[in-house]
Amino acid sequence: MDDSINFVVFSGTDDKLQALAVMSAGAAALEKKVNIFLQYWALDAFSKARIDQDHGLAPEAGAEGRAKVDALAKAGQASWMDTLRMARELGGIDIQACSLSMDLLGLEESDLDPLVDGVEGVTAFYLNAGDGQIVFI
């Protein structure tokens, strides 16, 4: 579909996942189709065992960045998982786990948070992305 936006998510820190959630929610509100492909540490963050834990921030955040992120959260900013959950209710968001990363992390589909719709390989991801833009986070 031409009007899709497709996120390949590699990083599993809370700030990058927040960026993913905000970009996805905005696209879903605009009635775009959103495909999210979770790899490596992003996939790890979507496991049932890890989703509610602190996933840290990107190295460039530093102590000052940490304080700013904490302040916004304390002021009531929705977490990335809550933002994604709400955005999914709009429809149009599909979240898939990369099958290679599932093997890497030793995860089964039953280990993943219900936010994740399924497991697929890179070929299926490209097929679903079609001519839409692909963004790597």
Partner: protein
Amino acid sequence: MADQQVDARGKNCPMPIVLTAKAVKALVSGQTLEVLATDPGSVKDFAAWSKTTGNEIIEQTTDAGVFRFVMKKK
């Protein structure tokens, strides 16, 4: 008086738009939704959302940092 209200005051981007999109989904064509928001990106975001989705902004006011929009479902 609008048919539905969304109070998104104090909520950060993209929540005002997400809540609005969700509320509009539940309306029938021609019904109206009033939204209150304080997110500083709201004016541009609601204009872009309206342009993309075709749901018209029929009223827009700003009062003491609160943006108020009335949307009509297409």
